[in-house]
């Protein structure tokens, strides 16, 4: 019955499925009237009701009680329908499967319906790309607005088309495997996961991302993030859209959603680092700690002039970590088993970590993390894992609090350590080191002291880098832009070779800044590692190979060049971001950071070693800025190296990376 009986308009809903709009004024484009809807449901009662409702909405309805028939209908009339409404539970084919097929083949908006309103099911709909989910019994009001999905999709497609030249919305959305419940904050999930797992595992999973993760979350490994950043840079940060990025990255199993959420975080990160004053220098140490520390945290730390004694650092860390906890777990899994630098996770954190940390004391804490002076990679790993929210670094430190503290303490204890700490404070680099296990080390103290501290402003957390290669994480400089100098690597203090602290400051940190703690640090290290001897010896060493990576080294190379590696670093600098923190210039570029290029590595040769390492790392990181932090760790300086190496004990890889002879950065002598 009609409401008022006088709704002649409703007569449009003719019993037959003829186009209702036609009966109207004859205007064919009376959108949304005339919307061509295909409704699929095995329940005839529901189907009949839906059909009537849709007709009443003036849509052109085709009903179908079998999914297969629906598919063939769709295939036959490629452009015959505007939208599909499908039930979830159907005997011949699962509604989600139909959803995927439609999305892939026809790229039409699909609305799912079910009497089941359980969160999981609804989530499944979301992850499979449904544009809406209706709970049965469906009311006509719910159907009145379905046209919005059609319009929206068309708009997106068009926009994408403009931007990317390809229309693949549906496809990408349909990609996620059914069992994967990707949430947009995929990274967060990863963080947590990765934290728990060893870095190696994470690495292994990185590639798989969505498919192999224990939890259906994407692990934004260093490499992956590097790719991501490279893609973003290629497109231009303003024009980078998930679809395009996804295309450029060309990573199987990665979905547009993953990229979208990562991009969101990345943008936040960029904003943060650009806004964050470099002064963060607080702790360069940040890198030290478990890389997990969200890069944010590091940056925050950097701001602080951390002169905190280990204890305070610890507290800071805790504080920072506390904060960061909110941030997604992305905290990069600083602790990379191999290297302490578990950049992996940090990446995602960049957005988050930074903010928190930068601002507060917590930063300091981060630093603590960053400076796991003696942290073995494992330790760092542990740290990181526990660190969690903080981006990893911080957290870890806390968790391992003891560890980190001890580490820090260690750092603090030795004179160099204290120096480092101080320096670290200056360089809040730590922030970037968020994930970076920054040179945990202890060694860094000397180095750090130099680096970071000096630059406090920059927050070049890198100081810690010097400590342990693991610290490299600091590359994350995020936020604080650790002025490259902060790299602890430069540790100038510690690193005798470091020419003048320069490196640490800012430059080093800058790297980290940019790199937000991307884990890449360890990558860098590994690279460095390869370079080995060269790196250490030749300032450029590290840089050289790094540079290739990061074309972004932007600014980084501001480093005052004293020794710097310009030779090598210059290339790194390209990478832009601070990576190079190496000494001085390096970090300065950190500012640009966001792109992680470790630019500053070029700075001082001595420190370069570390820087190199850092830089290397920075470069490694996909874009770096995160890397920068790592480099800081590298501090390249031989001295630092040795220090680090000692600490590293087990990060064999670290050693090699740095080119040290078997010194583990992690094992920086306390």
């Amino acid at each position: 019955m009609n409401l008022g009986g006088g709704e002649t308009v409703k007569s449009m809903s003719m019993p037959n499925s003829s186009v209702s709009w036609k009966s109207g004024d004859g205007v064919t484009d009376q959108f949304p009237a005339g919307l061509r809807v295909l409704v699929v449901d095995d329940d005839p009662t529901c189907l009949m009701i839906l059909e009537k409702m849709l007709r009443n909405c003036l849509y052109e309805v085709t009903k179908c009680n079998r999914a297969e028939i629906a598919l063939s209908l769709l295939r036959e009339n490629k452009n015959g329908f505007d939208i599909v409404i499908s039930d979830v539970h159907m005997p011949d084919m699962d509604g989600f499967k139909l959803l995927e097929c439609v999305g892939l083949e026809m790229d039409l908006p699909v609305i799912m319906m079910s009497a089941d309103d359980g969160k999981n099911v609804v989530m499944k709909g979301v992850t499979h790309g449904a544009c809406d989910y209706l709970i049965k019994p469906v009311r006509i009001e719910a159907l009145k607005n379905i046209w919005q999905h059609v319009v929206r999709r068309k708009k997106h497609e068009w926009k994408d088309f403009e931007q990317t030249g390809s229309v693949e919305d549906g496809e990408r959305q349909q990609k996620p495997p059914e069992d994967a419940d990707y949430s947009s904050s995929a990274n967060e999930g990863n963080w947590r996961n990765s934290k728990k797992r060893k870095d190696e595992e994470e690495e292994a999973e990185e590639r798989d991302d969505t498919s192999t993760l224990k939890k259906p979350r994407v692990v934004w490994s260093v490499e992956l993030h590097q790719q991501f950043v490279a893609a973003v840079n290629q497109l231009g940060i303003d024009k980078a859209v998930p679809k395009k990025i996804l295309e450029l990255m060309n990573v199987p199993g990665l979905t547009r959603e993953n990229v979208a959420s990562h991009l969101q975080k990345y943008r936040l990160y960029l904003r943060r680092i650009s806004g964050v004053s470099q002064h963060q220098s607080g702790f360069n140490n940040s890198f030290m700690g478990p890389s997990d520390a969200t890069f944010g945290s590091i940056s925050s730390l950097s701001g602080l002039d951390m002169q905190l004694p280990a204890q305070s650092l610890a507290t800071l860390q805790a504080a920072v970590l506390g904060r960061s906890t909110t941030k997604s777990s992305i905290s990069m899994p600083l602790v990379d088993q191999r290297n302490l630098f578990s950049f992996e996770t940090p990446k995602p954190r960049f957005g988050e970590g930074q903010q928190q940390q930068l601002s507060n004391n917590s930063k300091q804490i981060n630093l603590l993390h960053g400076i796991p002076t003696n942290m073995e990679p494992k330790q760092l790993a542990n740290l990181h894992q526990s660190a969690q929210s903080f981006g990893g670094m911080n957290m870890q430190v806390n968790s391992h609090g003891s560890q980190s503290n001890s580490l820090l303490v260690q750092m603090a204890q030795p004179e160099s350590r204290s120096q480092m700490l101080n320096e670290i404070n200056g360089s809040h680099r730590i922030q970037s080191s968020m994930g970076q296990p920054i040179m945990s080390n202890g060694c860094a103290s000397g180095v750090l002291a130099r680096n970071g501290m000096a630059n406090n402003a920059r927050g070049t957390l890198y100081n810690p880098l010097s400590q342990a290669s693991s610290v490299l994480d600091f590359s994350v400089n995020h936020g604080t832009d650790l002025p490259g100098s902060s790299f602890p690597i430069g540790g100038n203090a510690g690193i005798s070779s470091l020419p003048s602290k320069e490196m640490l400051h800012e430059d080093v940190i800058s790297e980290t800044k940019g790199t937000r703690g991307f884990l890449p640090s360890y990558d860098v290290l590994s690279e460095l590692h390869q370079q080995k001897s060269q790196v250490w010896g030749s300032q450029n060493v590290g840089l050289t190979y790094e540079t290739s990576h990061h074309a972004n080294m932007r600014g980084s190379c501001d480093v005052s060049p004293s020794v710097i590696v310009q030779q090598g670093f210059s290339s790194i600098q390209n990478n832009g971001q601070n990576r190079s923190a190496m000494g001085k210039a390096v970090f300065s570029s950190g500012q640009e950071s966001a792109h992680g290029n470790v630019p500053n590595i070029s700075q001082q040769p001595n420190t370069f070693l570390l820087d190199n390492l850092l830089m290397v790392k920075a470069e490694r990181f996909p874009d770096a800025s995160y890397h920068n932090t790592i480099f800081a760790e590298q501090l390249g300086q031989e001295d630092l190296m040795s220090v680090f190496l000692k600490q590293q004990g087990d990060t064999g890889s670290v050693e090699s990376e740095f080119g040290f002879d078997g010194h583990h950065l992690d094992n920086l002598p306390v």
Binding site: M1, P44, K52
Partner: protein, 150 residues
Amino acid sequence: MERTQMHRQLANMRKSLFDQGYLDEQFIQLEELQDDANPNFVEEVVTLFYRDSARLIQSIDQALDKSTLDFTKLDGYMHQFKGSCSSIGAKKVKSECTQFKEYCKAGNGEGCKKTFQQVKKEYATLKKKLEAYFQFARQVGPVETACRPK
């Protein structure tokens, strides 16, 4: 007069169905869909429902008759059945269905069987009431539908 009385009677019948909880708001949605083009829409839908759900009832009965109960299957059937019930606004039947599903989840065979008896009972009761209602409505005359109070 009779007309009016009949109308009133019809209206009362309808009202009591709602008041007694046999029908819910979804039924009103159906009523609203009815129009000149489909003057008997509600009745058609209800008829379709009873016809289609009969086989589901049968499937469930058969499944419950087995010595070992397959709760997943039972739940599946019931899910479908419940969806249909809810689409016509069969309130009491629907709530029994919900109860049934709970028992399925708990793996309570006895609970399922007992509840299903309730489901069938409510299902039958509603059917009778609606049939009477529609019959009377036809008597009252199609014109009346438009005036049927909500």
